[in-house]
């Protein structure tokens, strides 16, 4: 790991120094604007009054990503509403300011800055794609904000200003591959994905792990985002006859991929080859069509069909607020955790102060999470279980397997880089 911890620590101290100076500047600049500074609960000039606290929601509600991010917005609003119904955070009602990232990374950066500098929100729940997170990251670090990021992603990142409520790559991948290798006796894998950082990094980890287990990768291919012609790769798959197709195709390409797979006569219900994905949640299945992906396996931490009390209640509340025809995917659930984790951290710190909330965050537990118990790791990711679901024609996953223990998040996995 090469002294990762030292580096992070030295980074942290530099950051907090920077944050200190930035904070004094902000206080000096806006003393007149913010009406009442609420006692010691807020020492950094955030938008906190005696009975309200402002937070930001920053997702794409227009553009190509809107279809994926809408669920996250809904989940965050639901969580905020529920928290308010319980009396808010430190006795203050949460008010949210929603901004639209418009599926455009620079816009995300601009809006993030607006939320932090202009609105002085105490926390931001938002972003979805890695690109949007990378775009806002320098903003959050410079102006010392707190971002709760919901999507499963490639890892290789650990910012003091971000809490990652989705899984990082190793959590999803290692458990999934172990499972197909042990339970299904898989020995050969065909990796394929959309061509950007997340699928590439994930497949890199998958390949290392497969080889570590003594199995074989028989092919690895990438296609541009939005690609719709998968016939050539499907032919190669037929030729090489892998035990597992490991697919990390994202967005609209999914629809073409699974339809063409089916049309080419690869019947996933027969499990020869078996298809394992880490990119298709219930949201994507709505586009793909349940009948086209019937029989595929997905490795992630949450499925709408989970039968625990937390989840049953969560699904009921979600449908009450947003209508009966919504589906809830992995990311939506992770987004729902954001406000709750923030509330717990603020209450533990006894303050909205960003630095105090950050310090209070590691170790925060949430027993009421729909996915079950989760805990924040020192590296700002969540300990969580990984589950395998089997896609059903009705568009839902059936839970097949879950890890016995919580998976430790490891954004800089040793031996996988």
């Amino acid at each position: 790991m090469r002294r990762v911890k030292d580096i992070i620590q030295s980074r942290m101290s530099r950051r907090s120094l920077l944050a200190g100076t930035a904070a004094t500047a902000i206080v000096a600049a806006t003393g007149a604007v913010t009406p009442t500074f609420a006692d010691e609960a807020n020492t950094t000039g955030l938008a906190v009054t005696d009975d309200t606290v402002q937070v930001g929601i920053l997702h794409s509600v227009t553009g190509t990503m809107a279809i994926s991010e809408t669920g996250s917005v809904q989940a965050e609003k639901l969580a905020i509403e529920q928290i308010n119904a319980m009396g808010g955070v430190l006795g203050r009602k949460i008010e949210y300011i929603q901004e639209d990232g418009a599926s455009d990374w620079p816009t995300f950066a601009e809006k993030a800055k607006k939320l932090l500098v202009n609105d002085k929100v105490a926390a931001v729940f938002g972003c979805w794609t890695s690109a949007s997170r990378k775009a806002v990251l320098p903003v959050f670090e410079q102006y010392n904000g707190m971002l709760y990021y919901p999507t499963f992603y490639e890892g290789l990142e650990q910012s003091p200003n971000v809490i990652y409520t989705g899984q990082e790559a190793t959590q999803q991948i290692i458990a999934g591959i172990d499972w197909v290798a042990e339970e299904k006796g898989a020995k050969s894998f065909y990796l394929l994905g959309s061509d950007y950082i997340w699928p590439r990094t994930s497949n890199k980890i998958a390949r290392k792990h497969i080889e570590k287990l003594g199995h074989k990768v028989v092919g690895e291919e990438y296609y541009p985002l939005g690609h719709t012609q998968f016939n050539s790769v499907i032919n190669k798959i037929k030729l090489k006859k892998p035990d597992v197709i490991y697919a990390i195709v994202v967005g609209g390409s999914n629809v073409a991929f699974y339809k063409q797979l089916k049309a080419a006569g690869i019947d996933m219900t027969k499990e020869k080859p078996l298809l394992l994905t880490i990119s298709v949640t219930e949201d994507e299945i709505r586009g793909i069509g349940g009948e086209n992906i019937d029989g595929a396996y997905a490795a992630m931490k949450y499925f709408q069909s989970l039968e625990n009390d937390n989840n049953i209640e969560f699904v009921k509340a979600f449908k009450e607020m947003w209508g009966d025809d919504v589906v809830i995917g992995d990311v939506t659930q992770a987004a729902y955790l954001g406000p709750w984790l923030w509330k717990a951290a603020v209450e533990k710190a006894g303050s909205f102060d960003i630095d105090k909330v950050r310090l209070a965050s590691p170790g925060i537990e949430l027993a009421t999470a729909p996915e079950g118990y989760v805990r924040v790791h020192e590296n700002h990711h969540l300990w969580s279980k990984t589950r395998i679901g089997l896609a059903k024609p009705d568009g839902q996953y059936e839970l097949i397997y879950e890890t016995a223990d919580l998976m430790e998040p490891d954004p800089f996995p040793e031996g996988y880089q």
Binding site: T62, N118, S130, A131, L137, D195, Y196, I197, P224, Q417
Partner: protein
């Protein structure tokens, strides 16, 4: 005074002074640093819009690929800044320290050869001008020498924008892919993220824009400028008069490209990153819209158009995050239907006569109380002359 007179009418001089006043006095006084930085960002698009006025409005070459040049300039700058931010100490966490983080994520273990020269600021600054100019020259020479023009040219530029986007995204190990080149920190160890730096960059940006406006004005008032308009209106006649039309077109296309690239470089400096979302078809068309809203015949209009559209975009989306695109759409439809010549067209038909009257009465004060109202927007020069 006569030297100024030779390339600028009184109206145009006022126009440029007003823009300077808006940029350097009114904006900084009226806005906090966050908003000012946003306007700084909008102003970088104004470089593209001014280039489009020359290229499209004056010479009739509609380019739907100006994002390409904006991107080239921006990427050149971003490569330099990224290398400076990727010192072995700052990237010690990577498997190969000392190269940009995204290369490390893509299993690249050495800095690619074409990144090497961007360690030098001088090279970078030259590249910002030369790379887009050469690229535009190649496109221009290939198209205009073969007399490809009009719609075909527009389609080809659009294709180039699409190709370059795909190339950048596909070669993510070398370019940062969809994410772009992010987390830029310092320029010659001067932190570009501080408020102070943002002020300075804003003024540098404004000064460059004024310089570009003056330069464009000189081009427009020269013989070349008249040839541009002639090419637009009667290309064959210009050719029959013995001019090489293709050279004129290549020049103006390269000129617009360089302006866009300067805008791109300033964008990277002020926003702190560059991504392929500025290179593609949509941003390129958006830039044409800025120019159209401003009025494609006026370089000043282009600046106001860019500011107006971007300000509207930001304000609408802050107020109505889910409906703002409709508001913006309505604005564009209104522009096309109600005032096809854009902001500058409105100015010409309503405000300009008023300004003329004020200017000319000021001049005539003491001689006569009744100033004859000028008949058209072009009256300023003629009515003011007797006063000299």
């Amino acid at each position: 005074m006569t030297s100024i007179k030779s390339f600028m009418s009184r109206q145009e001089l006022i126009g440029i002074l007003v823009i300077a006043a808006v940029l350097f006095i009114i904006m900084p006084l009226a806005m906090d640093i966050f908003r000012l930085n946003l306007f700084g960002k909008y102003l970088t698009y104004a470089f593209v819009a001014v280039g489009l006025v020359l290229c499209w409005g004056k010479c009739g070459i509609l380019s739907l690929g100006q994002g390409v040049f904006f991107g080239l300039g921006g990427y050149c700058m971003a490569m330099y800044l990224k290398l400076e931010a990727s010192t072995p100490e700052a990237t010690a966490i990577q498997s190969t320290p000392g190269i940009p983080d995204f290369m490390d994520w893509n299993q690249i273990t050495a800095l690619p050869w074409f990144w090497e020269p961007f360690n030098s600021l001088t090279f970078t600054l030259l590249a910002i001008i030369i790379v887009p100019a050469v690229f535009a020259f190649i496109i221009g020479a290939a198209m205009f020498k073969r007399r490809v023009g009009g719609v075909y040219f527009a389609i080809i530029t659009q294709a180039i924008a699409a190709i370059l986007t795909i190339l950048i995204i596909g070669q993510q190990g070398y370019t940062g892919g969809v994410n772009g080149i992010t987390d830029l920190r310092t320029l010659k160890s001067w932190d570009i993220r501080t408020d102070e730096a943002k002020y300075i960059l804003y003024y540098v940006n404004g000064a460059l824009l004024i310089a570009v406006l003056l330069l464009s004005q000189i081009v427009l008032k020269s013989k070349l400028g008249r040839l541009l308009v002639a090419v637009r209106d009667q290309e064959d006649r210009v050719r029959f008069s013995g001019y090489d039309v293709s050279n004129i077109k290549i020049f103006v296309f390269c000129f617009a490209a360089v302006l866009s690239a300067i805008g791109g470089a300033m964008f990277t400096l002020q926003v702190g990153f560059m991504s392929p979302s500025f290179v593609g078809i949509v941003p390129s068309i958006e830039m044409v819209i800025f120019c159209a809203v401003g009025g494609r015949l006026s370089i000043f209009g282009a600046v106001y158009g860019t500011l107006l559209v971007n300000w509207a975009k930001t304000t609408f989306s802050e107020t109505f995050p889910e409906l703002w695109l409709f508001g913006l759409g309505a604005l564009f439809i209104a522009v096309v239907l109600i005032f096809p010549n854009g902001v500058s067209g409105l100015y010409q038909s309503y405000l300009a006569p008023l300004v003329d009257r004020v200017v000319s009465t000021g001049k005539r004060k003491g001689r006569s109380d009744t100033a004859p109202p000028p008949s058209s927007g072009f009256g300023a020069e003629t009515t003011a002359k007797p006063a000299e």
